[in-house]
Symmetry: C2
């Protein structure tokens, strides 16, 4: 419904946020204007400054406002390990697990010829250079286990064959805490193929 | 987790939105920066302009960037009917039902002496003047059926006793589409007390 031109515009703009529909947008707009104008102004400033100044890290292509992101600039991160992910949110997930101390490379997507996404868009053309340049000894392919993610992993494996680095793929299987009974067929196939000898 | 100072600030600011926690905030921030910077800029502009320019309607106190809101400025709205609500979102809900053609008055809260919210904060002191001024013949008390909302309705009824306008309270009962079996006791009490003779 129409409230007033400025509020309607705010309601419309709030719907660009993922998961926010018309009802949530109206509730959010009225809440901010009634109870939290400083919060609304702070959010506006944070949004426009981030939109203007955040770019891609020169080295790993993740989102960062500095030329080198915090991980690439950290001398403690092991350059011998390079993990290739589809998006910056994958880095967030892996960092939160605390299980990885190497460096990253962000593709910003996966190969999808129909959408015009080829090796150039994903930065794969410079990847071999990056791998030899930083002296990486192992490259972990952490693209998602979708058809396109698997195709991208295969393509990268081919592209890096000449670098001498060993290649690995993250394990896919039954998630920890999950139950076999409720696991889909594709995951069970991966879990069986990736089985390990119990010592 | 820390991503970069600007992105962290955006993640923090996004959490001022109702219902947005740390995980959703990270996902939203990265989504906007990766895929929708124009949307982020448009949202920033809409937020700051609304925060700066939206004020209260001089007549009904709802949120509006014009001195008189669209409803108060509309000569087709019946001045003989005045509906008193707690917040602008109540107006949105009533307007969407299409069942009301009168005018509104927004309290922006309910009486709550412990929180320092008295008749002055809610504009009740000028309400009698407003009622006689616009020649309202019926005042509908549409505060919420909570303890504080009921107390506010009672207080307003007392304050308006001298105006000659008739006072009514919106009906509270079993919601349409609801089932008696799943209705709480308080609502059933209201539904029984408010029963109407079937003609």
């Amino acid at each position: 419904m129409r409230i007033s031109p400025l509020i309607d515009r705010l309601v419309e703009a709030l719907q660009t946020l993922p998961g926010v529909g018309p009802k949530t947008a109206v509730r959010t707009a009225l809440h901010l204007l009634q109870h939290n104008r400083p919060g609304a102004r702070a959010l506006a400033a944070a949004l426009s400054e981030a939109a203007d100044r955040v770019m891609r890290c020169r080295s790993c292509r993740t989102l960062s406002e500095t030329e080198l992101c915090a991980i690439c600039a950290n001398p403690k991160r092991d350059p011998k390990l390079l993990c290739i992910v589809e998006s910056p949110s994958d880095i967030v997930a892996i960092e939160q697990s605390g299980a990885f101390g190497g460096r990253y490379f962000v593709l910003h997507g996966r190969l999808s010829p129909l959408d015009g996404v080829g090796p150039e868009e994903l930065g794969i053309v410079d990847l071999a250079e990056r791998v030899t340049g930083q002296g990486a000894e192992e490259v972990i392919l952490a693209t998602n286990p979708t058809v396109e993610g698997e195709a991208t992993a295969h393509y990268i494996a081919e592209a890096l064959r000449g670098t001498g680095a060993s290649l690995s793929r993250i394990a896919h299987g039954v998630p920890v805490g999950g139950e076999l009974e409720y696991t889909d067929g594709g995951t069970i196939v991966h879990a069986l193929q990736g089985r390990r000898v119990v010592s």
